[in-house]
């Protein structure tokens, strides 16, 4: 539920939504069963905010959890740029 709340805020992208989305994703990650995409969504938000180290760490967690993710080639390309 927190993941979907985060998605709603991230995709709506109005004033204050970034912080609300990050809070929702972090709540989701604090519970068991959060989808792997939570870390990807968090990474995209950190990138948007220029927080490259946090973005890199979140992308790496996403790939560690979803090593066969269909967008893994794109995520690896992001990580190359962040190194």
């Amino acid at each position: 539920m927190h993941f979907f709340k985060g998605e709603m805020y991230r995709l709506r992208n109005q004033a204050g939504d970034e912080a609300s989305a990050i809070e929702a994703y972090e709540r989701a990650l604090g519970r068991t069963g959060a989808p792997a995409e939570t870390n990807r969504a968090l990474a995209l938000l950190f990138l948007r905010r220029g927080e490259q180290e946090r973005a890199r760490a979140a992308f790496e967690r996403y790939l560690a959890e979803a090593s066969e993710a269909e967008d893994r080639a794109m995520i690896r390309a992001y990580l190359e740029k962040l190194r």
């Binding site: 995709l11 990807r40 995209l44 990138l47 948007r48 269909e70 967008d71 080639a73 794109m74 390309a77 992001y78």
Partner: protein
């Protein structure tokens, strides 16, 4: 053919084509959006709608190759009466976010069950770009397949999107569309 029948056929053709004015794209080098050139191998019919140039062989409702020619920051992908509510392109978007924008915009334009898969890097007009596959249903419930390639260049979004009815028209011109994409050269 009577004049009345001719007029009826012309009107039907205009309706089918969304009332757009189509012109012939000959199989020779063509400049797109002042950024790149393409070399179509077959004749296409082309129409312009806002920032989009739409190419088709059999009709845009069956299969089309659509070029988004440099969408500016804070603009929606498709023009509509309720565009104030639509998701907008941001010049700092990642490829993942652009794929989400396409899914959201195609859905808001009336398609159902829109899914993007297989997002991956692909060079586009000399830029670090991306490609992904698309699947959705039309308002009348017909399944369409497609793919999208693109990149952000000079803070503008450039896309080439090929889509068609899944059972016949998507495969029919898929290779023609791929040839156009492979021919993209930075100007």
């Amino acid at each position: 053919m009577t004049t009345r029948l001719t007029v009826a056929l012309v009107v039907a053709a205009l309706i089918a084509a969304g009332c757009a004015r189509y012109s012939l794209v000959e199989p020779r080098t063509r400049t797109m959006a002042d950024l790149y050139t393409v070399e179509p191998q077959i004749p296409w019919s082309a129409a312009t709608e806002g920032p989009w140039e739409i190419w088709t062989v059999d009709g845009p409702t069956l299969a089309s190759l659509q070029f988004l020619n440099g969408l500016e920051d804070d603009q929606p992908l498709f023009r509509s009466q309720d565009e104030a509510k639509r998701a907008r392109f941001r010049k700092d978007m990642t490829a993942s976010e652009i794929a989400e924008l396409v899914v959201d915009s195609v859905g808001a334009a009336g398609a159902a069950s829109v899914v993007a898969t297989g997002l991956r890097p692909e060079t586009f007009a000399g830029r670090d770009g991306f490609r992904f596959d698309l699947r959705f249903e039309t308002k009348s419930g017909l399944e369409k397949r497609g793919f999208v390639v693109g990149a952000v260049a000079n803070e503008r979004l450039y896309l080439i999107m090929y889509s068609g009815l899944a059972d016949h028209y998507f495969p029919k011109h898929r290779e023609d569309a791929e040839r156009v994409i492979r021919s993209v050269r930075l100007k």
